[in-house]
Assembly symmetry: C2
Homo-oligomer: 233 residues x 2
DNA sequence: ATCCTTAGTGTAAAATTTACACTAATATCA
DNA sequence: TGATATTAGTGTAAATTTTACACTAAGGAT
């Protein structure tokens, strides 16, 4: 026990932390933001961005703070994933981690990530190395959750620009679900749901027919949800 | 700070607890096990069974221990629900709660629950009073989760006897989803999935045609899952 | 002007879902 | 013991949804 141990409790308490699985997409495979650890344990190993929960913040606020501090990212979709409480998950002492997953538009944040001295890098899912602590397990859980969720909640849009083409959207779903989708059926279905707003704008400077941009119409989606109509792919 | 405060930390730490939402079913409406608080705060208010997490147990082990200690229940389906971390959720001090939900065969445990001095009682969902702390919110989250989950995972069986009739199973789904289901279509679909084993045994001493009993064939279900065939109602 | 590449579109067949009503079995009651 | 009351158990046709599939349009590059 350190000398400057200021807080005393009658019963032993585990430490509380939050780790974030950040998914990004820029057209190819789904990506994950990882951070190289600077200290022991697991020095120089890749890990999820994470940190201890302050007394004045909820775990979600903590997760958002971590995203900002470690990757310069804010205002993104974030959702609680799972709480990991294995006793030996951290070799130093007992630390409970409330994990979150975030969906990030990679294009928008590519540059900002890793702005301070931290070594942060996007990894394609198939190229993610073995991670520090139980972070590989956390990532696995997050992928499962994302796959499961993407078919019945319109969260995929969070990974794209505000304006996107249907081809981009389809590529995203194919990347997440890891299976090919029929172009015509996909368009029929997704447009039929009535929450995609066709924009006037089209792609520019492409060496082929320019694709129309669409945006996700949150208001229309909300109205549909309230009518009991639910997204399903 | 009490005098016998034996554990010292450099940074302030919240306490860690676990609360359990136990769902039970005995044919009518879905039920919830609640416990009357004996102490302040919220003295004499109904609350979820809960308790602090020990250093030698995971949160799930803690939840199972609570089920056993407070309701005499063991070997039931349990799953992590959500972690509640609002700063003021407990008026005494900051307590993080990792909530779990459990599915219990009410018939099997009716008697055991409330065996010690605790006042424990099953409440029909529509008759659940306002609960202590943020427990009403936890219950709401649990109901949402159960409703969402029951359609694509065969967890409903956990609420029934090992042997059940199709009518019982249908009644359970109707109770959870809160909507009527067509008898013939329900049977066609659920039997078509191939994980219900028809037993020889039938109901006895009923004043009408005796219904056949079925059981959930875990092995068959596992095989189907591995083949990529998934439950869906 | 030709080529290359991706956008955008419809239809027919198959599969699934829905709506719906009568006979069978068994204890109870008159 | 026969009538009654109650729930079990079953099939089919129509509607809807899902699937499979191929060509023309547009735009920059050569």
């Amino acid at each position: 026990m350190k000398q400057n141990s200021k807080y005393k409790y009658e019963y032993e308490r585990p430490a509380l932390a939050s780790d974030c699985v950040m998914f990004g997409f820029d057209g190819g495979e789904l990506k994950l933001l990882l951070i190289e650890r600077e200290k022991e344990p697991f020095k120089n190993k890749w890990s999820l961005p994470g940190g201890f929960v302050f007394m004045q913040e909820t775990t979600e606020e903590c997760a958002k703070r971590i995203l900002l501090e470690k990757a310069g990212i804010k205002n993104v979709f974030i959702e609680q994933l799972y709480t990991f409480s294995e006793i030996e998950r951290d070799p130093r002492e007992r630390i409970i981690s409330v994990a979150y997953f975030a969906l990030v538009n990679t294009q928008q944040y590519e540059v900002i990530a890793g702005r301070d001295t931290l070594k942060a890098e996007w990894f394609e899912l198939s190229k993610v190395p073995k991670l520090a602590f139980d972070h590989s397990k956390i990532v696995k859980t997050a992928i499962q959750r994302l796959k499961g969720k993407v078919s019945y909640q319109p969260i995929g849009f969070e990974l794209l620009n505000e304006k996107f083409t249907l081809t981009q959207l389809q590529a995203l779903y194919e990347a997440i679900l890891e299976e090919p989708i029929d172009k015509r059926n996909f368009r029929k279905k997704i447009l039929g749901m009535g929450f995609l707003k066709a924009l006037e704008e089209k792609e520019k400077n492409v060496a082929h027919k320019a694709a129309r941009f669409y945006s996700f119409d949150k208001k229309a989606y909300k109205e549909l949800t309230q009518k009991g109509i639910h997204f399903e792919l």
